[in-house]
């Protein structure tokens, strides 16, 4: 059973994962039995009563019902269904009753990345950090279209809506790093709208909370920029190889350094540090011609050092490509 579980399912990390997998097994084995009845019954009857080469075409039996058999078609499924229902509801109620002592983390979905806001202040992008063994309440909302927040190892999923807060919770038992997916179609970057959940032991978590982000302090600017480029989800819309995606490629921006950028309203500006900074903080103010104004603002999500890092990183691209 354990080997099978390992093969069929992602790791069972949340407290209720095992219960849900067991519900699966119950339905699975009863279904297997029903399927076996249908399949073997069918093969047996088809072969036993097959029309053989030398048979005469003849009138056949008029048997077309059997009350006992027929009532069992209704009663047995009814029993199975009732068990499934009771079990299913028990598991479900378990999944929706959030413990009172849960830590509340606010999750915001936006095309196409996730932001996590922690109760003690501080926020992360595309990386949810939680302590193990403590119930976590996730409060979800969206800034634009629908998304859905899915952590396979927790067996937990909930739609993320723009006009209301949805709630889910889990209690992680095993430390580790696991994937998070967006499972409601949300446009071009839907399949890249991934994140990670990092489950730490509570001690580490507290340390992490205290010095969130500071580990990057001694990285050189351009290296930090390269790291942020993927960590802050710029990668979902901007490539480094010159091919446009949702937004212009960084390589192009870098190569056009000092030249004029034309916007969709016909105006233009020179690409320089200020322009880049403005593009990141107020992307809607100047929209590059040929693109749509879908870039989200990073106001409040990046500090000054991080902005500098991204700009430094962008500038290096041109040099790299010239070699």
């Amino acid at each position: 059973m354990d080997r099978l579980t390992e093969y069929l399912f992602p790791k069972q990390v949340s407290t209720f994962a095992q219960d849900i997998d067991n519900l699966f097994y119950f339905i699975f084995y009863t279904s297997l039995a029903l399927l076996a009845i249908v399949t073997f019954g069918m093969i047996y009857l088809a072969i036993k009563y097959r029309f053989k080469k030398n048979d005469e075409v003849r009138l056949t039996s008029s048997t077309d019902h059997n009350s006992i058999l027929e009532s069992s078609f209704v009663i047995i499924p009814l029993i199975l269904v009732s068990i499934t229902f009771v079990w299913g509801i028990k598991s479900y109620l378990n999944m929706v009753t959030v413990p009172n002592d849960a830590i509340e983390i606010k999750v915001t979905g936006q095309s196409w990345f996730w932001t996590f806001d922690y109760p003690e202040g501080g926020s992360t992008l595309n990386e949810l950090v939680v302590p193990s063994g403590v119930p976590i309440k996730i409060v979800l909302s969206s800034k634009d279209v629908l998304h859905s927040f899915y952590i396979p190892v927790m067996r937990a999923k909930m739609d993320v809506l723009p006009n209301r807060y949805n709630v889910m919770w889990f209690d992680a038992r095993h430390e580790g790093i696991y994937p998070i997916f967006c499972t409601e179609y949300c446009g071009t970057g839907h399949s890249q709208m991934n994140a990670q959940v990092v489950v730490m032991n509570p001690k580490q978590y507290n340390v992490w909370l205290a010095e969130a982000g500071s580990e990057d302090d001694d990285l050189p600017l351009d290296e930090l920029g390269a790291k942020l480029y993927s960590k802050k989800a710029c990668i979902t819309c901007h490539t480094l190889d010159g091919s446009p995606l949702v937004g212009p490629s960084y390589l192009q921006t870098s190569q056009m350094w000092g030249q004029e950028r034309v916007f969709d309203d016909g105006s233009s500006a020179t690409i320089d540090d200020n322009y880049i900074r403005n593009s990141i903080l107020e992307p809607q103010s100047q929209i590059v011609a040929g693109y749509q104004g879908v870039m989200p603002t990073y106001q409040g999500l990046l500090n000054d050092r991080e902005l500098d890092a991204l700009i430094a990183f962008l500038k290096t691209l041109k040099e790299d490509s010239e070699i």
């Binding site: 249908v38 056949t60 048997t63 937990a156 209301r164 499972t183 071009t188």
Partner: protein, 541 residues
């Protein structure tokens, strides 16, 4: 039988206009058949393209946007242009009046009008493709669909128009079944295919208006920003989901009930045996149609509905399984003490039993709300619905096509090739879609153009088999078409399966333009294989 060309609806009257303006249900049925097959082919080829892109985790030769557009078109065309309108439109039209002993459906002009509405809708959909596609998924969830820059309006307009076509067909069939039966053909003497069409039509006329109005609201939302579904304007996107699924869940029974009907015809004929539990099958059709209206919420288990609704929808969902199970067991038991021949239609029917049972039972997994939270919008759902739609409806449709082909065209295909294709479809279908259950359990989300490395092996395996699947269906269809060549005509009196329903015993193959040369008189029930012996005959002209 006299051999003048007046007694064959295919050759009389002549000329292209006589087809385009025909009021003959059989000809209209054929036009639906070829229209539907065209779109099946188109959406199938798109699917193979998607599978190719999914063979590796990266989006190799297409962009995300192209992939998103492809799966939307694949799903929407399969559903709105092929299985909902074309299967009842084709087989239903060709067979219904023949099975009732009627000269035509109740409203022949309406029938033709309905076909042209379908064509008009199809034009919009084709326009959508040429104009660059649409990327919302076949479910058109707001607010993405109100903000997407792709061609949402032509697509939804097309669906709106096809919805009308579907309503009119349903209305026509209901009136036909009620009022056009010949004397003595009481409800319990109807072939079960007719019962199935009756259930289908009831769902069509009651559910389709809701999707029609929903599409209108969506279009207005895009054009005028009416604010009903758009949260930015105070509207509620979840209301859209309720409206959409209030139609689209019953719509899955529009897709499967005709297939049930086909299976109820094929199995008794090819087992030469009275059908097991006639009344049970007939009533289970109606109860499925009815219960089907009460379960739409099971598509919204993660939308944040109230806990109470979740439980109620989950509860009712299970109950659809019971009448369906009755049918499955009855079909199986029909073979008991019969004479089972392994003809192409029968092979399709047997694979239907196996595949649909898997598809239906996995529906029960999804109906269990606690489990669905893990499985929703993963490949488990994709596998479920391909098992019921392709493994169920399409397989039954292919079986029905092989069963009634000699009737409709007066020609017989190569049965050995057809049998090999039937087995090929069965094996490669399982090869393509069974692995997707595993993908889903392991957490692979659907509608993903790119995905994590860990899913790569299973995906490429699925892709491999999808190629064989496409090939098998293709050869099966070519085999059918090849039988239409000259000098391959059957004697008009041929009844290759020894079937007892009226379309076989009371008219020629292909039938007379007015269906029956004389007013038919009911002589026996549709499944009286214990009383009436008709020997299978297969004579070439």
């Amino acid at each position: 039988m006299s051999d003048n060309h007046h007694n064959n609806y295919l050759t009389y009257p002549k000329g292209i206009m006589s087809w385009l303006l025909t009021l003959d249900h059989k000809r209209i049925g054929l036009m639906y058949l070829f229209g539907g097959m065209f779109f099946f082919f188109l959406a199938g080829v798109i699917a193979l393209g998607m599978r190719l892109a999914l063979a590796t985790p990266e989006a190799d030769f297409i962009t995300n946007d192209q992939y998103n557009s492809m799966y939307t078109l694949h799903g929407a065309i399969m559903i709105f242009l092929f299985i909902i309108p074309a299967i009842p439109g084709a087989l239903g039209n060709i067979l219904l009046p023949l099975m009732l002993g009627a000269r035509d459906v109740a409203f022949p002009r309406l029938n033709l009008f309905s076909f042209y509405l379908y064509s008009l809708g199809a034009v919009f959909v084709i326009y959508t493709i040429l104009a660059g596609g649409v990327d919302t998924g076949w479910t058109f969830y707001t607010p993405y669909s109100t903000s997407s820059t792709t061609n949402v309006i032509p697509m939804t307009l097309g669906i709106f128009i096809i919805g009308f076509s579907s309503i009119l067909t349903g209305l026509n069939f209901i009136a036909t079944i009620h009022k056009m039966r010949i004397k003595g053909l009481t409800w319990y003497k109807l072939p079960l295919f007719v019962w199935a069409l009756y259930g289908t039509s009831l769902v069509q006329i009651t559910a389709t208006p809701v999707i029609a109005i929903t599409m209108v609201l969506l279009i207005l939302e895009r054009l005028l920003g009416i604010g009903i579904f758009d949260p930015a304007l105070g509207g509620d996107p979840v209301l859209f989901q309720h409206f959409f699924w209030f139609y689209s869940h019953p719509a899955v029974y529009i897709m499967i009930l005709p297939a049930f009907g086909i299976i109820s015809e094929i199995i008794p004929v090819h087992s030469r045996k009275k059908i097991w539990g006639y009344k049970f099958i007939a009533y289970s059709t109606l109860s499925i149609a009815f219960i089907g209206f009460l379960v739409w919420g099971h598509h919204m288990f993660t939308s944040g509905q109230s806990v109470f609704s979740q439980i109620v929808f989950s509860f009712i969902t299970y109950f659809v399984g019971i009448p369906t199970g009755i049918k499955i067991f009855s079909w199986m038991l029909t073979m008991y003490k019969g004479q089972v021949s392994f003809t192409p239609p029968m092979l399709y029917a047997l694979s239907f039993l196996f595949l649909f049972t898997i598809g239906g039972l996995t529906g029960i997994f999804l109906g269990a709300v606690a489990l669905d939270i893990h499985l929703h919008d993963t490949y488990f759902v994709v596998a479920h619905f391909h098992y019921v739609m392709q493994g169920g409806t399409i397989i039954a449709f292919l079986g029905g096509l092989h069963h009634w082909w000699p009737k409709s065209f007066g020609a017989m295909y190569n049965q050995t090739i057809a049998n090999i294709c039937a087995i090929g479809v069965f094996v490669s279908f399982n090869g393509t879609f069974f692995p997707q259950f595993l993908l889903g359990l392991r957490g692979m989300p659907r509608r993903y153009a790119t995905y994590a490395q860990e899913y790569a092996d299973i995906h490429s395996y699925s892709t491999f088999w999808s190629g064989i699947l496409g090939l098998s269906i293709f050869i099966a269809v070519v085999n059918l078409l090849w039988s239409l060549r000259k000098n391959n005509k059957l004697d008009p009196g041929t009844n290759p399966w020894g079937a007892l329903t009226m379309e076989w015993t009371h008219t020629t193959s292909p039938p007379h333009p007015h269906n029956f040369e004389e007013e038919p008189v009911l002589t026996h029930g549709p499944y009286d294989y214990d009383k009436v012996l008709v020997k299978p005959t297969l004579k070439r002209k």
